[in-house]
Symmetry: none
Subunit: 202 residues, 4 copies
Amino acid sequence: MDRKPGSTGDGRKAGRPRNPGTDRIILAAARKLLAEGGLEALRFEVLADMAGVSRPTIYRRWASKPDLVNEIAYGGDDPFPARPIGDLRQAIRFVFEQLRDHYAQPDVSAAAIGAIVMGQKEGAAHPPALAVEAERTAREALRAMIEDGKARGLVRGDADADALFDIAVGAILYRGLFSADSRPRHDDVEPLVDIVMAGLQP
Amino acid sequence: MDRKPGSTGDGRKAGRPRNPGTDRIILAAARKLLAEGGLEALRFEVLADMAGVSRPTIYRRWASKPDLVNEIAYGGDDPFPARPIGDLRQAIRFVFEQLRDHYAQPDVSAAAIGAIVMGQKEGAAHPPALAVEAERTAREALRAMIEDGKARGLVRGDADADALFDIAVGAILYRGLFSADSRPRHDDVEPLVDIVMAGLQP
Amino acid sequence: MDRKPGSTGDGRKAGRPRNPGTDRIILAAARKLLAEGGLEALRFEVLADMAGVSRPTIYRRWASKPDLVNEIAYGGDDPFPARPIGDLRQAIRFVFEQLRDHYAQPDVSAAAIGAIVMGQKEGAAHPPALAVEAERTAREALRAMIEDGKARGLVRGDADADALFDIAVGAILYRGLFSADSRPRHDDVEPLVDIVMAGLQP
Amino acid sequence: MDRKPGSTGDGRKAGRPRNPGTDRIILAAARKLLAEGGLEALRFEVLADMAGVSRPTIYRRWASKPDLVNEIAYGGDDPFPARPIGDLRQAIRFVFEQLRDHYAQPDVSAAAIGAIVMGQKEGAAHPPALAVEAERTAREALRAMIEDGKARGLVRGDADADALFDIAVGAILYRGLFSADSRPRHDDVEPLVDIVMAGLQP
DNA sequence: GCCTAATCGAGACGGTACGTCGAGTCTTGTC
DNA sequence: GACAAGACTCGACGTACCGTCTCGATTAGGC
């Protein structure tokens, strides 16, 4: 449901191999379009022109627009590499900072929201499997922290790690998208950490 | 930039008046489409058929799809009527419940996210003026509560009411959209209230 | 199939009578539009504005666009009043001059050609009954002259009056329409008379 | 201002070539519609269905309805290939027969009259450049004959070849359109030749 | 050093939706 | 009843974008 198989990365043999640099050029152009005009500005014709490439060359790499958008939103290297740190507050802040660093990129937030919209059509996987997969590491890290905190008596017993995670993602994503230019970006996660930490007190 | 002027709501003018029922029928059909298939399922041709109406009749009322979607997301009666209640916790819960009640409607959340996506295109008002307007009451109610709480020493001095509000809306909206059928809906605002209340402690 | 019955000209009794001047104002506006932009420029909305009248007021008088166009092309007083004159050549010239005087009006020629085009649609009377009716007088006058000429030995026996008539109308109409501005209008029927007279020689 | 540039007829260019058969299928369907119902029956949606083609495919070949109609009226191979023949009368008959053969086709006459009507709208070329171009050969052939006849003393000095040509076209076209089914078609040009020949006598 | 097979640019193509326009009808309130 | 105003249906228009396809021309391997 994502990147099409091809010469790049496969053990292919016959035929002309794909130009590996083309992938990056297309992605860069797509990110620019998404960042500047959102999902509706991402036209494949425009994208092809920007990348100096033909439309079929794009479709050779991604089967459809949702696939490309999904890759921008959640593809590439693991966006949320786990890294447990001693202090609970620090650990939570670190998870939130990862979420913020990811979704604060305008292309990524536009792609993420676009993936949601395009994923609403009947029959599509919902929520997008890639999103679930991508967030899994961060979600589980947070869950582990909370459970550990509960075990050590540092966190109240009825704290809901999943709700907490969704609250953080929703808040970060929404602020990034909604308050585009009229209000300051939510660059500082500290208030969010404050609120959440307080909410975890036993 | 929203509803086109017309008989409905105007002082009696010349000409055949618009059929006021038509507005409601179209809106009901549009809500159904949005709730079931999201923004991409909202086709004007299908909408016209469902409403037993011709396409031009829809365009006579809303200039474009964004206008219609905006009205569904934020139009109609004030979705967040202010009603201050004694206890701070109760008051905050009440605001959050209003937000939840609004965005928990699948048509409304689909329209709200659609408004964001369609509002990203160059030249469109972003964020949609209607959204800002509609949320103003609730936002100011929350702000007043926080200020009052600060004055009475019940709330820490650096609490950011706007950040709080966006966190709440983002969390509610995101959960409603993202966890459509795979996880339970975020029907209970109590955890959110818990977290926030704790975060307000001086 | 033409003018709708109404107060004007009927023995009507009840209700407010139609404003008789309105008919002329509408017709004048329609002629102007036809003359300047042809059939496609004759929009009822524009027509109504020009005439200072509402669209239903037009439809109260003519059931449809073809009806209005037909009236302009062939309506009103008999456009080809018979008036036999002694000399055969003079008589023929007179008929042709009548045809020319009628079809040389740009509004009339546009209406006539428009009537043909709109009359081609399946199920419509073809050729338009009004055209046949209007031309009948002139056609029969020409026929009578030719027959008379034959009887007197002035015209060859196999002369076809109907073909002659169609040739004249077609030539006059086509020249008027086709050579709008690139070539001189066919204002002088003398060459046509010359040709035809010679063709009638026994 | 006519046929859009495309693979057909060009020097081999890049890209998928147009299916050359598609052009013919569309034209055949358009001719059928024109012949049966005139200009108003030529709907692009119906045309697309008949040709088993999508609407954009038609617009890829002709920019608008007038362009398509013009091509049917005057496009394709030269409809009036000059071929001078000895006898003046034979030569003139030959030109008229060419005109008759062309305009006697119901699709062509419908298209020709349609081109006139659609060409009247403000800003359009009038008369259609294609018509002028297509008829040029025949017009000049007739003109050459007349001049030659004058030089040889066979034709009166003040004969107007252009008027003659327009008379012939107008007569042929008008009879074909006007007398669609109520009177016999003007299949025999002999009477027209008779008249014209006599009119040319010195 | 050919041969094969996939890539690439270009652009046609079907499909589907968009937003607009004109014709003709209908429904108000006013005269 | 006529009339102005304008809502309404129907059907067509021309455009836009998506994803597929078909060309000719490259461009690597594998033999």
